[in-house]
């Protein structure tokens, strides 16, 4: 059986991981390569690096980070943040990224999804969707969740699938950072509307939250950030609990 994936997300700014891992005695808690290796050893199934560098001038630093990680870490990793063109994607591919995640640029230029999928393969194209509840539906936001769009999240998810996305990284803006659990309703609706893998994101605070999202939705992966970085929960413990609940999981890393 295909294992459900546990994916740590690392925020990178100017080549350094911000909110680094605090639970392991690392000499340099901001070093992306060191942290990638650490999560690989902890049993992460994949990694996501989110480049939150503000200035364009410093973007090339990310390419160096990607090169360094690719040299030493042999599990798949995705890079997201500020990707606007095929050239940006190609640079990341050449540096060693297995996938790119696009969000704002996909909304403003949906053709970019199709072009990326045709040029680099569907498996390379992850579309990130940030969604916020509005009455009985969910609205898509861009620019790191700061700007509302006219798009309905379910319709947008179907469109990105049609346009060639290989995967959807779905973040609930309502739940993000609250540690009260994934948005089950949102994750259920999106994962049932499409036939590509959906990564649930936003709101994980306990092991039970991860179990819940896998039991109640079609999500094939769960993304976690701060709860992992601060050592509140450990990947190994999530995975042991998943096995107990008969959720297919990779334990032989």
């Amino acid at each position: 059986m295909l294992s459900k994936r546990i994916i740590p997300c690392l925020d990178v700014k100017d080549g350094r991981v911000v909110k680094g891992i605090s639970f392991i005695n690392l000499r340099d808690a901001g070093d992306p390569v060191l942290l990638a290796r650490t999560y690989d050893r902890e049993g992460a199934d994949e990694l996501v690096f989110l480049d939150i560098t503000a200035s364009k001038e410093k973007r090339d630093i990310m390419l160096k980070v990607v090169q360094d990680v690719a040299k030493e870490v042999f599990i798949p990793f995705t890079v997201g943040g500020g990707i606007k063109s095929l050239k940006d994607m190609e640079d990341l591919l050449m540096a060693g990224a297995d996938k790119v995640s696009i969000n704002t640029s996909a909304v403003y230029d949906p053709e970019l999804i199709t072009k990326g999928a045709t040029t680099f393969g569907r498996q390379f194209m992850v579309v990130a969707i940030d969604a916020k509840r509005e009455n009985d539906s969910f609205r898509v936001f861009t620019h790191g969740g700061s700007r509302p769009t006219d798009l309905d999240a379910v319709e947008w998810a179907r469109e990105v699938e049609d346009r060639g996305a290989g995967e959807i990284l779905l973040t609930s803006m309502d739940q993000d950072g609250r540690k009260t659990g994934y948005d089950i309703e949102l994750t259920k609706r999106i994962s049932e509307a499409v036939n590509i893998p959906v990564i649930a994101s936003g709101g994980a605070g306990t092991i039970e939250h991860v179990i819940e999202v896998f039991k109640k939705t079609r999500a094939t992966a769960a993304l976690l950030a701060s709860v992992l970085h601060f050592g509140e929960i450990r990947i190994k413990d999530i995975k042991i609990a998943m096995q107990k609940e008969k959720i297919p999981v990779r334990l032989d890393w």
């Binding site: 040299k71 599990i75 990224a97 297995d98 498996q123 290989g166 995967e167 036939n195």
Partner: protein, 202 residues
């Protein structure tokens, strides 16, 4: 010389280069017939579209040379598309001819399966397979694909994985040819071990 077959649209070829380097071996990129002829062993990686890959290889005049290489008996290791291309044909985009080294065809997973089949899955029936030495049966490897082979060749050894309720062939071994559907270069320690077993045998 260990060669890695390179072609346009091959996906993340760099991760294969990096894994080989990490394991302590030298390799050369193979972009044309001349360098392919000089190779003592070949790794054929790839990701993406079967049709696109076969077009790229034909444009680079590598198609026939590749068949010649395989029939010369030199060690060959195919990854993902490098496995699929060994068969007679693929259903992708109607009908695309393969290298016809192993009898069989490449077909798509059912429409109601989540596609691609993406992530870590257990590979079984591996104990007879040459390069699975010191890798336990049922170890996990990383997959990304929507097509899989139906193998008719009886002389070919096979390893399997299961997706939803579908058992499919994900490793083939026949004479000098070895190929896997998953990505050993992205499969952590077991993937590196598999590559190392191949590289150290050359």
């Amino acid at each position: 010389m260990i060669g890695v077959l390179c072609y346009k649209g091959g996906g993340n070829l760099g991760s294969v280069f990096k894994a080989i380097t990490y394991l302590g071996y030298q390799f050369e990129e193979i972009w044309d017939q001349e360098s392919l002829k000089k190779a003592d062993a070949l790794i054929f990686p790839g990701q993406g579209s079967f049709a696109q890959a076969s077009r790229s290889l034909k444009e680079a005049n590598l198609w026939e040379a590749l068949r010649e290489f395989i029939y010369s008996g030199k060690p060959f290791f195919g990854i993902c598309l490098g496995l699929q291309m060994l068969f007679d044909y693929s259903d992708e985009f109607g009908f695309t001819e393969g290298l016809k080294v192993i009898s069989g065809k490449v077909v798509e997973f059912q429409k109601d399966f989540i596609r691609p089949h993406l992530g870590w899955n257990k590979v079984f029936n591996t104990s007879d397979l040459r390069f699975f030495k010191d890798i336990p049966d049922d170890s996990s490897f990383y997959f990304v694909h929507s097509y899989y082979p139906e193998v008719y060749d009886l002389s070919c050894k096979k390893g399997f994985a299961e997706y939803v309720n579908k058992r499919f062939v994900c490793v083939v071994e026949k004479d000098n040819v070895f190929a896997c559907q998953f990505h050993p270069e992205k499969s952590g320690r077991w993937g590196l071990k598999l590559l190392d077993n191949f590289l150290s045998s050359i």
